[in-house]
Assembly symmetry: C2
Amino acid sequence: MQGLVGQGLTGQNRGNGPASPPEHPVQTGLTIDSLPADSALDGRGPLFDQIKRAVAGQILRGRWQAGQRLPNEAELSSLYGVSRQTVHKAIALLAREGFLVRRRRAGTFVATGRRDRFALPIEDIGDVVAREGRVYEFRIRDRRSLRNGEGIRWPDLPDGTPILALECLHFSDGTPIQHERRLVNLDVVPEVVDESFDVVAPSRWLVDRVPWSSADHTVRAVNATAEMAALLGVEAGAACLSIRRQTMHLSRPVTLVHFLSVGDRFTLSGSSITDSATELNL
Amino acid sequence: MQGLVGQGLTGQNRGNGPASPPEHPVQTGLTIDSLPADSALDGRGPLFDQIKRAVAGQILRGRWQAGQRLPNEAELSSLYGVSRQTVHKAIALLAREGFLVRRRRAGTFVATGRRDRFALPIEDIGDVVAREGRVYEFRIRDRRSLRNGEGIRWPDLPDGTPILALECLHFSDGTPIQHERRLVNLDVVPEVVDESFDVVAPSRWLVDRVPWSSADHTVRAVNATAEMAALLGVEAGAACLSIRRQTMHLSRPVTLVHFLSVGDRFTLSGSSITDSATELNL
DNA sequence: TCGGAGATAATGTATGTACATAATCTTTCG
DNA sequence: CGAAAGATTATGTACATACATTATCTCCGA
């Protein structure tokens, strides 16, 4: 029963039946030029969403420029013919999504902050392979229990902490595409010593089991060493994508992993969408 | 604001009489075991934030497991001694951040969705270099106005659309670190033809000027061709990070850019933090 | 002119109330 | 027994009200 995937939400387009804002008094004299036609609410979905769309639309269309001050909540309220609470909810959400900046007493401003917060999603290799319709397999090459500092050192972890060290290879349709070297903090995840990883890959096992609160990533390009080249079935020196990830939970390191993937068999890709734009369909 | 906790944050919990819920008899037998000590509110910040922390804490500590159902708003309300609106705000925000899934009539559940939405921020090269305390420079190597399909083809753009093609190099302390090849849709950004890019780099100029609603990225590792190697001052075959980005605005392509960076001089890195964890300080 | 005290204007939070919406559960009737 | 109709329950939205919190502005006096 916990299947549940996409939350369906969003009231459909009911033909703005109840209490639509027909003839509000319009408060002629005011700050911002009376809004042009395309600032009107569109009647689709909840009021606060309509207002979000209307405001974000003004910004995305460049009508409200970065740094410019918006009408205050009371003005917007009478402008759109809804209560201040409803305006507040819409505007506060847009601010939370980074479109606006609000300062008490000063007002609400279009965020100057350049919207260059591109974000690249990093997915589980198994998911990627499966999504491409290929057969995913993995093989554990090595598995050792030891203490930090004994041959291997995990910088963010105190020496002596018990850790599990894993090494494994990932395959797509039988071709090796990624090498993984992983350390797991046994103080945080002691159960992992009882897991054979016959069926579930370590990354998936961990992600299913341990919540994390933060993750650090470093992505770089490196030339394959002779050893790695042999494992991955490419020539020495082939360009490889190297991903290092450390996840933390409640300020404690959980796992440190190093992925190495063949450059022309694996790419990171994804689309970042401005939160609002998603809902806005702009 | 990280000063002392201080500020009498008002509205402490229960006890305060004014029209609190009509003293319903605590509903003994029910859903969640009466919450242990660490589920109490901590008195820091607004009530809805305290409730967010309390609930997210239960989840992150594994006390409320994935798929499990939470007490309903009314129960939480009497549990924490706040109004349903306040509980609703906290829970709705957690749901919006992906911690919870809510279904009408059914209730609120801890999200099973694996929290594997790692995201990697992709920054402007100029920002990165500057942050490292190095001197950033760039040089335009080529600049041409042409129409799509004439020698260059931008797949997502109709043939014949006027475009500006740029090629430039980015330097850190005088060392070349990134090569950029960029196409700009002149139908969307006609002003760009009047910009010399003497001072501001194209990426920065665009990001400051044109809002975007979505961006596609592809990151891969490639071996430097002889030509690129010469430009970047490395040996042919050196591993390079290749980033392709297309940004769209209102469903129209704005710019398509191809970055190539020397593997050992440039890395992508960043930390993804669960939205809530930020505020939670967990 | 400067500095500070106080007024003011904007957003932020909390509560109450009412009703809408969507599942789920229950009952009833063929 | 099973399907349709209705009751129930939990969340979702909207509005009103009240007060808290903070910058900012104004004005007054040394």
